[in-house]
């Protein structure tokens, strides 16, 4: 009996050992398979996120440094991978942002929607400083000028005479702290006793790229009035144009000229013009595009625009100087193979590089109307392109893969060194930074092992996400 018992125990031990070895082997196999990865080249097949008609918006919990791990892109031995690719700069709702440079470093200033407080955050570290504590609640839009030292806040106020909400616009300077709290306050840009009053119900605001001037549009009985305000001194606002048509979206340039684009609707032809306040002449730029939305570079030389097509919201580039010429006919427009809106894109300081959040949209969606009305949201991946080679679109990041989260990109910015892309996620208005990966080395032919075939998972990565 003892011998049988001993044999029995021996076989039990052997069986347990075999099971343990099997578990270790499977675990090692899965671990090693994930670690091998693929090297992605440039100009890859486009990979898009998907448009959800009823996208769930995940709440943000915990601290403001939710990070992702970079496990699939680039060389994992690169020390830069230690810094997270996506960093949440604040989980709170943000109304507007800008970037400022101080001592060679880039900082991001933002306004909280709930309080109107201004903060500054280092996108590299997430370290945040509160700059003001002047309470102006429920800010809907915020713009910065004057190197981030002047802020334009827009909110709703109940007008007791009209018995409805009106849009109130305030131009405030950020005052240095006067006490030991090291928190400053906001001060009326025109001075405490100034009689300058900015009208209610301004429809749109645009700040020039150099931050020195602001333009606002105000409805008047015969159309629309455009007025400029200097953000670097206290000159009285000055009207610079009037137009009988009032449904404009403006973009102000440093030289005072204005890009005027008609407000868009998916199946309505849109038009875009350049207005010169000195000659009062309107010059036609982009014309007759359904659902037209635009965003020009700082000089106004290039206009990024989207057109609503059966395949989605198609991005293209317009140039005042011809982009190319065919059989003696100048070509001023070039299609870019991305589905997105210009407001999801930003121009880098070079003036030729563009970064975008881009999506796949489903049928039956009216773009941009449904997006503006908040009826749909997008799941964006990040892309980069250059105006000199628009056929070569470079994949930057897919947040779904990196941190298993979807973003609907708005208010994008890129710092001057193109190290960080800053944006607000429209899903919850939280503020994020994307660490832009360094360019991937070009794959040399000699490095390609012709016997290597991509696994189905790797093929799926290369092809990208399909529309659902």
């Amino acid at each position: 009996m003892d011998l049988e018992e001993k044999n029995y125990k021996k076989w039990i031990i052997i069986a347990i050992g075999i099971v343990l070895i099997a578990i270790i082997a499977v675990g090692a196999f899965l671990f090693l398979r994930n670690k091998s990865g693929t090297t992605e080249g440039t100009g890859g097949v486009l990979s898009f996120g998907q448009l959800g008609e009823d996208t769930t918006r995940d709440p943000i919990t915990g601290n403001n440094t939710i990070t992702g791990s970079s496990t699939q892109n680039g060389n994992t031995d690169n020390p830069a991978d230690e810094e997270p690719m996506f960093r949440q700069l604040t989980p709170e709702s943000v109304a507007g942002i800008t970037n400022v440079v101080r001592d060679g470093k880039t900082y991001v200033r933002y306004v909280l929607r709930q309080t109107g407080y201004v903060y500054e955050v280092n996108p590299a570290t997430g370290e945040t400083t509160q700059l003001t504590n002047t309470l102006i609640p429920r800010i809907y839009e915020a713009y910065f000028g004057n190197n981030g030292n002047t802020v334009i806040l827009r909110h709703l106020t109940l007008n007791p005479i009209l018995l409805r909400d009106v849009i109130t616009t305030r131009v405030e300077d950020i005052e240095e702290p006067m006490d030991e709290t090291n928190i400053g306050k906001l001060q009326n840009h025109f001075g405490v006793d100034s009689e300058v009053k900015i009208a209610d119900d301004i429809t749109f605001v645009s700040v020039s790229p150099d931050g020195k001037t602001m333009l606002y549009l105000l409805p008047v009985p015969d159309g629309i009035s455009g007025t400029i305000i200097s953000l670097v001194d206290k000159r009285t606002p000055k009207e610079i144009f009037r137009n009988s048509f009032s449904e404009w979206l403006p973009q102000l340039f440093d030289n005072g000229s204005i890009l005027l684009t008609t407000k868009p609707s998916a199946n309505i032809l849109g038009y875009s013009y350049l207005y010169d306040p000195t000659t009062k002449i309107m010059t036609r730029l982009v014309r007759e595009k359904n659902g037209l939305t635009t965003m020009a570079d700082e000089s106004g030389k290039f206009v990024l625009y989207s057109e609503n097509t059966p395949g989605g919201s198609s991005l293209s580039l317009y140039s005042k100087d011809a982009l190319s010429s065919e059989e003696g006919v100048n070509i001023y427009e070039q299609h870019i193979g991305l589905n997105t809106l210009p407001e999801k894109c930003t121009w880098a300081a070079s003036g030729t590089t563009i970064y975008c959040g881009a999506y796949n949209n489903s049928k039956g969606t009216q773009i941009p109307d449904d997006w503006y009305q908040g009826l749909v949201s997008f799941n964006d991946s990040f892309w980069k392109m250059n105006t000199t080679d628009l056929e070569n679109i470079i994949y930057v990041a897919d947040p779904q893969k990196e941190i298993q989260r979807n973003f609907d990109v708005t208010h994008p910015l890129v710092d001057k060194d193109e190290k960080y892309m800053i944006f607000i996620d429209k899903n919850d208005d939280s503020l994020w930074s994307l660490r832009i990966p360094p360019p991937i080395e070009k794959i040399e032919d000699s490095n390609i092992d012709e016997t290597t075939t991509l696994t189905p998972e790797e093929l799926k990565d290369a092809v990208g996400t399909t529309a659902q």
Binding site: Q114, D165, F204, I281, M282, R284, N330, Q373, G374, K426
Partner: protein, 334 residues
């Protein structure tokens, strides 16, 4: 001279006049040969089909020579059309036509093709919420302002320099004057587009342009948003059909898209809010309604809210919507 001779001279003179006058008339007024283009107002770098017609000259047996910018392009019998491309804005294309009829008469005609563009922009006087970047759409009996932006000589223009003639619903003249680049027209029923036509000319020149536009008419829509005391109205997050909240109070704000704005702001719109089929009190020009949880904190409570809106001044401007708000205990909310 005797009377008979005078009469003879008179008769011969009249006869000669009657015989010669058509020729003189033709020679002096060569517009008996007319040109038309397709498109009617071609833009820059556009392919254009030019057609020639005449009731006075027999073109069907005439030899016709087409020159473009002094270059002979086509020479044939009875070919009364030509396809050309316009140049860049500001460039003129000069078409010269030589017509040699079967009986040997020769006629020259010049036609100048200059790119022209007439943009017609329209804006509806209907409601959109504050900060909305999209276009306000026309609805039943709403008013729409139509504005023309013409260009003849270059990409740049001052609209006040041009003469405009406006036509509505194809036959109704709604105004013409120098610098009158805008008109206001009423819309009809949803789904029945309204045609508007504008002819533009530059005084002191022969340049003309024309543009036809069909303005679509839509139905209004209601979109619900949450209004919170901390963040205000979340205009960029429309509420889904089912909303969950772990609070004890929830305020709904409705945006009555594309109802006539004058009626919305004047408070002329009739709002009917219902919660679980009972009339709800509403406030602030009827755009808001607040729900409160009445049960225990630990219970889940669901309220179905229905809203119907109608504009009594424009009776076909109406819309309705429904939202279900679920008050959940704090632990249960995702």
């Amino acid at each position: 001279m005797n009377i008979v001779l005078k009469k003879a001279i008179l008769y011969i003179g009249v006869l000669c006049f009657l015989v010669a006058s058509p020729g003189i008339a033709f020679a002096s007024n060569f517009d008996l040969v007319t040109f038309s283009t397709t498109p009617k107002t071609p833009g820059a770098n556009t392919s254009v089909l030019i057609r020639m017609e005449s009731f006075a000259v027999n073109l069907s047996s005439a030899k016709i020579l087409w020159y473009v910018n002094k270059n002979l392009i086509k020479e044939s019998v009875a070919d009364t059309s030509l396809k050309v491309s316009t140049g860049d804005f500001g460039e003129e294309t000069i078409i010269d036509v030589v017509i040699i009829t079967a009986n040997g008469n020769s006629y020259n005609k010049q036609f100048i093709l200059a790119p022209a563009e007439v943009d017609v922009l329209w804006e509806a006087q209907t409601y959109t919420p504050p900060f909305y970047k999209g276009k306000a759409m026309p609805t039943y009996k709403s008013m729409v302002k139509v504005t023309a932006v013409p260009r003849f000589k270059s990409l740049s223009s001052d609209p006040s320099e041009y003469f405009y003639t406006w036509t509505y619903k194809q036959t109704l003249n709604i105004g013409k004057a120098l610098g009158k680049n805008s008109v206001i027209v009423p819309m009809g029923f949803a789904g029945a587009p309204i045609p508007v036509n504008v002819e533009v000319s530059l005084p002191g020149t022969n340049w003309k342009g024309e543009r036809y536009l069909s303005i679509p008419v839509f139905v209004p829509k209601l979109v619900m948003y949450e209004q919170s005391s901390l963040l205000g109205i979340s205009y960029h997050h429309a509420l889904p059909k089912i909303v969950e909240t772990n609070g004890t109070q929830f305020t709904l704000h409705v945006a009555p898209y594309f109802f006539s704005s004058d009626d919305v702001y004047a408070g002329n719109i009739a709002f009917k809010w219902y919660a679980d089929r009972r009339v709800m009190p509403s406030d602030q020009a009827y755009l808001n309604a607040t729900l409160e949880k009445t049960g225990k904190e630990t219970d889940t409570e669901t309220k179905s809210v229905t809203l119907s809106i109608q504009n009594p001044n424009r009776i076909l401007q109406s819309a309705s919507t429904q939202v279900t708000v679920s008050f959940t205990p704090e632990d249960n909310t995702q």
